[in-house]
């Protein structure tokens, strides 16, 4: 019987010819990523279990990217960065991107891609649930906790239950104002926040393959919001073009077999997609942006691993150019590279950064910032009962810092259009004019 791309990658990393959904297997790990929130706990468990002087299984396969609580006075948060530094020094780890140095990157999931750690056919685990993002590169990637990460640090292996696969196919062409964020919010709205629990979400179809790597990352990023174990898109030329610019390492491209078995298969007509928001307080609380125009907003937030990439800011800038925002609007590039691009990329001769400044938006430093609330002094952290439109991925109660706030998840187009009007706005007219 045929296998899906996820099954093939897992089989190859377990030294087997084939695997079946439900099999418990031990896989060899190509990359382990951790960050400032989960690194310290992971290292403590690693030392407790393998000994004070134990060495990690492979220095070259460990990637440490501080990104969550970065620009803060919080002493505990800053101490966590010191713990990362200490561990990196002890273990002499080459892939560390320290805060306050030229080497600092920002949000781990985009940094992994930009630094060449996302390679087709590989297996990547990270101590962050949005590690599913890397699946956009035709690799298996998923989030784990500190204990599993410590186990990998010591052994290079971890057990995996092979997931069943679900196939989401989009044929045709997405309308110009529809972004990957709308597509994933639409799907999560259809299947629910536990609709893909334990399963793989595979994206296919010419509409998906027409997307840039950054847009593909957005699709895979939010697999976890449907409970998914991983999101995955077969690698093609778009993928290899991106990867080749970032790394010389070899990779292997896998394809799903024609007769592979899927737990669920659905084909969507891409041209029927619309701008979607997820209403408070759940990513599956779907509505069309056009149905929510009576929702008055206090602020807009454009950032995070989901909505803080260059393509996201290009989209926002297109709408904000030459206009003024009516509500507080926060712009947080995911990584340093994105921030630099905001200074370089132009629309009709004006840089994105100037477009945002002239529109009256506030600019933050690259990091996770208010996507997860964070310490009290975090840039863009929601206050009181504010109503926020955000390009992030979660609108659970309190996620952005205030339990009383109301967060609507949306695409960068929708967030930008809404920032201009002060209420939730379907971006179609702005984009098409």
């Amino acid at each position: 019987m045929g296998m899906t791309i996820t099954e093939k990658i897992l089989a190859a990393h377990a030294g087997k010819d084939s695997v079946f959904p439900g099999d418990n297997i031990w896989v060899d790990v190509d990359v382990l990523m951790t960050h400032d929130v989960c690194g310290p706990g992971t290292f403590a468990i690693f030392k407790k279990q393998f000994g004070e002087n134990a060495k990690v299984w492979d220095r070259d396969k460990v990637v440490i990217i501080p990104d969550h609580f970065i620009f803060t006075e919080d002493t505990h948060a800053n101490r966590n960065i010191d713990i990362l530094r200490q561990f990196v020094k002890e273990q002499d780890l080459p892939h560390y991107y320290d805060v306050g140095t030229d080497n600092y990157k920002g949000v781990c999931h985009l940094a992994l891609a930009q630094e060449g750690f996302n390679r087709p056919g590989e297996v990547l685990f990270g101590t962050d649930s949005h590690t599913s993002t890397s699946g956009a590169f035709g690799m298996f990637s998923t989030g784990i906790g500190n204990t599993d990460a410590a186990f990998i640090l010591g052994t290079g292996k971890i057990w995996v239950k092979v997931p069943e696969s679900m196939c989401f196919e989009f044929t045709g062409k997405f309308p110009d104002h529809v972004m990957a964020k709308d597509v994933i919010l639409n799907v999560i709205g259809d299947i629910g926040v536990d609709g893909a629990t334990y399963r793989s979400m595979e994206w296919r179809g010419d509409a998906v393959m027409s997307l840039s790597m950054e847009e593909r990352m957005t699709l895979c990023n939010m697999a976890i919001e449907a409970g998914g174990k991983n999101g995955i898109i077969e690698a093609d030329e778009v993928t290899t073009d991106y990867v080749r610019q970032r790394t010389d390492r070899p990779y292997k491209i896998y394809h799903s077999d024609e007769d592979a078995k899927y737990f669920f298969k659905k084909t969507y007509n891409a041209s029927e997609m619309e701008s979607i928001v997820a209403k408070p307080h759940s990513p599956d609380n779907k509505a069309k942006a056009s149905e929510c125009e009576d929702v008055k907003l206090d602020r807009a937030y454009i950032g995070s691993c989901t909505g803080g990439k260059l393509t996201d800011f290009m989209a926002a800038a297109k709408l904000l150019k030459g206009r003024k925002v009516l509500i507080d609007t926060f712009i947080v590039p995911a990584t340093r590279e994105v921030e630099e691009d905001l200074h370089k990329e132009k629309i009709d001769g004006e840089t994105l950064i100037d477009i945002f400044k002239n529109a009256g938006a506030y600019l933050g430093d690259p990091s996770c910032a208010a996507c997860l609330g964070g310490p009290k002094d975090t840039f863009g952290r929601a206050k009181d009962n504010q109503v926020v439109i955000s390009t992030t991925n979660r609108n659970f109660p309190g996620r952005m810092g205030s339990k009383q706030s109301h967060v609507y998840l949306a695409s960068p187009y929708t967030a930008a259009a809404s920032a201009l009007t002060g209420h939730i706005t379907n971006p179609a007219d702005f984009v098409n004019n």
Binding site: N24, W26, V37, C38, P40, G41, A44, K48, Q49, G51, H68, F69, D74, H76, A77, R79, N80, G126, T127, D128, S129, T131, G143, I144, G145, N146, T147, D148, F151, G154, T155, K157, W159, V193, D194, T197, Y198, I224, G227, K229, S282, L372, G373, G374, P375, K376, R394, F396, P397, G398, R399, G401, K403
Partner: protein, 188 residues
């Protein structure tokens, strides 16, 4: 492994996410410092919206004041318990507060895995929607051999789903002990 777990119930609803279990601003404390880690117990479940906290009445604090231990040691949940982030601080804070078992309709996978691999508490599943049956404060007893949950306050007993393959890891204590038992890693 203990064969019987007894304690008072604390009842929550569906989709209890990890930001509710431990809000992100608290993820800064050390889990290896015995004093500092008590903070996790103190802030466990403080992100749950008031009306959902301690059903059916709601607005029941899980821990009181500066206490890091809760009088409730068995959590009853609905669907998709523990969804959201991979933060192991979530099952850890519940254990620090004294939770010994969770009985939910279903779990989000990372949370489930963390609970088992880290050996924080036993995540049971039950087909009956206990959220509507059990009240916060009810006196419960879980019998691991019979695979049942008894509500002593209401004199009712429910079947729990089998723990399946993860029972081996639960019995060993955590993933490391399991790997030592099976010879995957050297015994310490």
């Amino acid at each position: 492994m203990k064969k019987i777990i007894e304690g008072l119930a604390y009842v929550l609803g569906n989709d209890v996410d990890t930001d509710q279990i431990i809000p992100a601003e608290h993820l800064v404390y050390s889990l290896s410092d015995p004093e500092e880690k008590k903070n996790y117990g103190k802030f466990a479940l403080t992100g749950v919206p008031g009306e959902q906290a301690g059903l059916p009445e709601g607005n029941v604090s899980f821990t009181e004041g500066d206490n890091f231990e809760s009088k409730y040691s068995i959590i009853i949940g609905g669907k998709n318990f523990g969804c959201g982030s991979s933060r192991e601080h979530a099952p850890a804070c519940m254990e620090i507060a004294g939770v010994r078992a969770v009985v939910a309709q279903s779990y989000a996978r990372i949370f489930y895995r963390n609970s088992v691999d880290g050996g924080f508490f036993i995540p049971f599943e039950c087909e009956t929607r206990l959220v509507e049956e059990i009240k916060t404060g009810d006196d419960l007893k879980i019998d691991l051999e019979a695979n049942t949950l008894s509500n002593k306050t209401q004199n009712k007993t429910y079947d729990l789903k089998s723990l399946g393959e993860v029972i081996d890891i639960i019995e060993a204590g955590n993933i490391f002990e399991y790997a030592r038992k099976t010879g995957m890693i050297a015994s310490s």
